[in-house]
Subunit: 231 residues, 2 copies
Amino acid sequence: MSQQMSCKELMKVLGLGAVSFVLGVEWLNWLKRRLRDSRGPLKEVLFFPSPQVCVEHLFIRHKHFPCACPLPHGVETSFSRLLVHLLSARVSLDLCVFSFSHMELSRAILLLHKRGVVVRVVTDRDYMTITGSQIGALRKAGICVRHEMSSAVHMHHKFALVDSRKLITGSLNWTLTAVQSNKENVMVTEEPELVGPYQQEFQKLWEANDPANHISQYTNGQLNIKTCKDK
Amino acid sequence: MSQQMSCKELMKVLGLGAVSFVLGVEWLNWLKRRLRDSRGPLKEVLFFPSPQVCVEHLFIRHKHFPCACPLPHGVETSFSRLLVHLLSARVSLDLCVFSFSHMELSRAILLLHKRGVVVRVVTDRDYMTITGSQIGALRKAGICVRHEMSSAVHMHHKFALVDSRKLITGSLNWTLTAVQSNKENVMVTEEPELVGPYQQEFQKLWEANDPANHISQYTNGQLNIKTCKDK
């Protein structure tokens, strides 16, 4: 009986030991993860000008797309990284950009719209109508675009929010000159402390520039509010 | 003797217990700090336009500076926060800015220079000579300014590095319109993963635009390279 008891006790001790060991290992793993994660979320910096390379494979989902263009292939650049981040959108893209005339960036936005991503664009009033602006093409495709209502003020931001969790911001306007010639910077981050304020700013500008609140400006019919439904 | 031994042993146990307790508390505090620090270093976002307020107290170190100007006093704004961050420089300020005509920002840079902070400025070639540009005033004071050498390219960055550890970057040019009228953003961070690449970019631009490497461009004597000593 005494031997049976001591066996039971031994089993208890072994069981408790095993549970303690497993819990200890789990706790150490959790601690390791927390300490490793203290580096924080994605932070990437891109500098421009970016050399011209083929980015066709980013638009076409086939693995072995045989592109015959004369540009270098299989090369990663600041611009291709920017495209990768934009095209990673699955749910929404909120874009706040002063000047938008870059054809490939426009193609990326149109592709996201086609894929069902909810795209919202806030842009500058004057720059939306300059030669080469892609704003018209976006509107034509049904993307909702709003512009700064005041003619005395420039909407000078250049940031995008991918799925409300990835911020792309910097000095880069969405033009060919900016991408291929100028000295520019773009930062990509998923740091919530940075993404949050930009998301709030976007929402603020989106609501402030709702054409429904500025009907008087549309009496001459020059500006199109038909495609600007609140989403 | 046996009582004396057990007293000694008791002292040992108590001593070891106290050491273990102190070490345990210290370790817990370290762990607490690490977990709390996992939020990471400074991250601040400023949006513009910024309302006009008195910022005189940021330039004058007297605690109770009696400013009689008609602007609101004791109000913190995006612009005053920007000034606070700039004026926190103790060793160096590396500034890379496309357009610089804001008088108070110029005053801040001149004040830092006067305090012995090593200021280096890289700016755009075309915009450095526009009406109201403060670049001339900086050069006159002996601050080393370099500009983008290529006339076909814009140096479109708008970032500053304070003491090589604080990055100030965004869409904001250093002009009165940008600060007081435009929709702009500025991010301030001490995140080393973000500060590092910008510091490298500054150094790259600083060296690439060293006038000593572009003597042929100065044969007509239009541009002044006298104040551009490498620091």
